[in-house]
Amino acid sequence: MATERQSSRGKRWLTYGGLGLCGVAAGLPFVWMLLASFMTEGETLRRVLLPEQVQWANYVLAWKEADFGLYFKNSLIIAVMQVGGTLLFSLMAAYPLARIPFRGREVVFVVILGTMMVPEMVTTGPNFLLINWLNRHSPIPWLNNWPALTIPFMASAFAIFLLRQFLRGIPGELWEAARMDGAGHLRFLLQIALPLCRAPLLTVGMFTFIGSWNSLAWPMLVTNTPEWRPISVGLQQFVSEAGAEVHLQMAGAVVSTLPVLLVYFLIQKEFTEGISLSGLKA
């Protein structure tokens, strides 16, 4: 008995040891990013692990001189528009795919799923030409402006798929009951389905937010002035131009990470639930 208990205790140590080691590997780059962002330039070049004095000035420099304030605001506006558009249009599209057996439903669904397979780089070139054309022919400019940065991303196949799976799970009796009460599809969607879709909507919103915050190639093509430049492009240019100013690079990296982490911690529970859903067989 004693040896068995010992072996189970040993096993527990091994388990936590393995988990802890991987945890350190996962967390170390964050720790380093944060520490280096508070160092002086000299400290980042010497073999220093801790800054002697916390250099808040790095953040002021990055925010003002490297224009991160402006880029940050741009990224935020772009992300809010993309998330709002995606949630609205994807929920609207998912509803009939889940609940109205209209003609051609299967074909539409397959076409929508098909767009998930197409890598961004296949559509980037043609879309850039298309945006140039729209820029010349529409009343508002598309290049260096919000339309090019937001409108092409206002629907996502993944969002539609996830929301459809979820809407299909709502019992049919609810719909029958709502119809008895004289509710149409729109009212059913807004008053009954919408409140039930909290977790998948937050998940889809989070994914859209991350995708928007990350996008680099497309904004590099459609913005050539700082006016609408997002933080991803700002940081990329800062890294390729500034060279060795590691302390400022890290301050910029921290600034661009914070909003995403903040949103993640706020909706962590629903998000984990939502993405776990996406991996299970439908």
Partner: protein, 318 residues
Amino acid sequence: MKKIPLREQAIAWGFLSPALLVLLVFGIWPIAYALYISLHRWRIKQEAFIGVDHYVRALSDPGLFNGFKVTLFYALGTIPAEMVLSTGLACLLFNILRGKGFFRVLYFLPYITPVIASAVVFRTLFSPHPSSLANRFWVFWGFENQRWLYENKSAVALGLKALGFSTYPAWVDTFFPSLALVSVILYNIWVYVGYDTVILLAGLSAIPRQYYEAAEIDGASPWQSFCQITLPLISPTLFFLATVAIIGTFKAFNHIYILRTPGARDTTDVLSVVIFDQIFQNHNSGYAAALAFILFIAILVLTLVQNRVLGRRVFYGD
């Protein structure tokens, strides 16, 4: 089949139309448009029709061939390692009582963090400077400083050098990934293992406990129950993750664009980066479209083959 009232049909299409419009215009139409563009000389605007000239050029372009090679190295370097590591971690996490939530959040952080930010951090972690964390770690174990992301020689060649071989055949650099690409692969593993672990954990929780109890009564070892129960039952999830990862390799752009360095560019540029350079730097939309179309066909074929070969082996129960 019951006839669906016209009004219902109209409502359905009305609900669908905004999303469908965006996806058709910016997701489907560009594929056909890419084919059209690729058949023309096309820099800033449309010029002469040149037929399949761009495709002929692409097939003899070392850049395209190299892009495919790097993409293949990248896929082979990341996907198996991610699957094994995340399965292991998910099993460990599944069996603990305390701290499960903590580890799950921690492992998930790299996936959530903006790619640009974490790639910038890795650029400094894997810099050739002697004070970079990678070099400090490496030197701690008694090895020499490395150039990491700036190194275009293959990791195997460097190993041979360390063992005292001063010369080695040229194919060692051709058939193995460069140390720069290995660094990119490490970054990719760091990002995705946590995501895969969280999804696999959900898969593990869905396995009925009784299976394991029955196996234990029959005297099965933990390893046997893992191979006979766990693995078959999470194989659909693994298949899903592998599919996402393979498509991800072909989509990979952001972090590679940040992590590429002047000296090792040819050894880290996957196809997407090669295509983007044609659009962004050479302003050659025609040729870029041809490359993009080839990439699209490659993915289409790969997905079909994967579904045929791997999809059949996946165990979905009955």
